[in-house]
Symmetry: C2
Subunit: 352 residues, 2 copies
């Protein structure tokens, strides 16, 4: 810890400039009604003394911190292990920085720390929050709501409490899944399997729905549960090969799952794509390019999702949305918003 | 963004409890001198209404946020690409969580954003800061100092301005480097080269100093500049092989550098360790175990460094160190502190 000289006070600035405390306060907080010459004297005194306004006091007046919290409902270890978060944060960071807002990433060890995150959000340290990776039974949305800060969610929230004013950014998970399965069917594949993600997340549920849109009459044995990890993909692929040894295609709910499935197919002596064609989801780089063979997948623009989340939040804040107001009205118009859903595209590589 | 019900006010709590605003304020802020029965009524009203104290106002009284900022003098992209930061953050996160303090990671796109980080630190949003990955010409230490928050540095700061009250946690970089070079010399190697890190960081400068402690008379051609990345290691290794084709050992300033050097040695047809023995620094997993062959290296406990940084800061804060006071006095005793330097150990694998 470093020793620091006592911080110059508002009083010291007032004395140096030869004005009242109230005048200094008005100038520092950008209020109008102070004569130019006077304001100039105050600014010079502020600069000479190296005065830093006390933000805690100042925020009571201006109610703006130029800071945005990012909260992921995942432990710190997962945030740093999964490239998905890094890509989303990249988009958020670029957009916030372009508007000179500070990105405040609130890390946790797990769900038991979410109450503390809620306290920090309620504490008047940020103007708004970007929240992502929600699970259906997650306490975080409730905590964020009672913290009263404007919020944009990453991914369509799964709860349904009759509110239609939730702003979120999502990819077209259902449409992308339909494209993947139609692509496989178009190649003449008839026994198409699906490895799901964790179904307490809407992204996974929507991809399963897209699969069913195209294969309404699919044998239930052709659907196996995964969890968005390579290990989960391996486990599910083994199950599928046991149950349906004649399957000729697999749509995996994400690229990491597909990478695990590809390993098991290779071990089992199946040629990809000759015997079994495989499609993933995400186009997560470098994963999708480095599988053996390189993976056909559904691309979503994860960085752009992050950028758009930040943009919607800042736009809402610029329109004067504060805690306790309906951020929704300000974020989009003219109707109550809801989601912004980005399109996906099929990227064909060597597994189909 | 979600619409939120208006937040209950202090007044509403006072009305419900049938007490004055001042009484509510005293109870909420943990002050003494309120009768038990009265305090109990206030607490019940707080709970029933779901009242959340305004932290901005509250912090003016208590001056404690139970939140600690972490700042790395590297862009966001590097933080997520280099496992060193993830390991250090793991230790910090565990320690802060154990003491119910919120980890507030302040991300930037680059050095031009450091002034904004300084403003956030000065803004009364955190109790202290942990700052790491400093370069010699970095503006961050100065900004942190003028923000007036108690700070612990990760790694020995490189500036020398006559102050002896800087608290930092470091590894014994110089001693560890000496161990590495002595190990190589003990194996009978006589043409020992060194690939440095970026010499504007004290960790790299100290490792070079350790190399020179043992090889005071080393041919200057045996020293090449790297930058702690695999690509830098490759470049430096090519230079070294050009200049000194008869070299028989390399001490690389970190494991990533060693990984690059090993690739170039293999391409050049040198057998490791028969022709050229290699030692790294960090014992960064999984890097050090996955090189071909697995890497002999100097282990530093990066996670423990993070934990210790957090512990020193919290200890200082518990002793009542606030902004503008000498945190140093409180952090260690009885003398002015300075650094806590953790020992390193040589881990022998297959490259020596």
């Amino acid at each position: 810890m470093t020793e620091t000289a006592p911080r110059p006070t508002l009083e010291a600035v007032a004395e140096r400039a030869g004005v009242s405390r109230a005048t200094v306060s008005r100038v520092v907080n950008g209020a109008h009604g102070v004569r130019d010459a006077l304001a100039e004297r105050v600014r010079r005194a502020v600069e000479e003394l190296g005065y830093v306004p006390n933000q805690a006091a100042r925020s009571l007046v201006t109610r703006r911190h130029d800071a945005v919290a990012v909260v992921a409902a995942e432990p710190e270890t997962r945030i740093f292990a999964d490239p998905y978060f890094a890509q989303q944060l990249r988009g958020i960071s670029k957009e916030l920085t372009a508007h000179d807002n500070q990105l405040v990433l609130l890390l946790t060890e797990g769900r038991e720390d979410h109450a503390r995150v809620g306290r920090y959000l309620a504490g008047g340290h940020v103007d708004g929050a970007l929240v992502f990776s929600l699970h259906l039974d997650d306490p975080l949305p409730g905590l964020v709501r009672s913290a009263g800060v404007p919020t944009v969610f990453g991914g369509r929230p799964g709860w349904d409490d009759g509110r239609d004013d939730v702003v979120y950014v999502d990819s077209d998970n259902r449409g992308g899944a339909r494209d993947a399965v139609r692509h496989l069917a178009g190649l003449g594949r008839t026994r198409i399997a699906h490895i799901t993600g964790p179904l307490d997340q809407t992204s996974a549920a929507d991809r399963l729905a897209g699969f069913r849109d195209v294969r309404a009459d699919a044998d239930p044995g052709l659907i196996a549960r995964g969890d968005f990890t390579p290990v989960g993909g391996e486990r599910a692929m083994r199950e599928l090969l046991d149950r349906c040894p004649d399957l000729d295609a697999v749509f995996a709910a994400n690229d990491l799952t597909a990478a695990g499935a590809l390993r098991v197919l290779r071990e089992g002596g199946r040629r990809v794509p000759e015997d079994v064609a495989v499609v993933g989801f995400d186009d997560m780089l470098p994963v999708a390019e480095q599988t053996d063979p390189p993976l056909t997948t559904v691309r979503q623009d994860i960085e752009e999702m992050g950028r758009l989340m930040a943009r919607l939040l800042l736009r809402g804040l610029d329109r004067g949305v504060g805690a306790g107001n309906s951020a929704a009205d300000a974020a989009t118009e003219p109707d109550k918003p809801s989601g912004v859903v980005l399109p996906t595209t099929l990227v064909r590589r060597a597994t189909t």
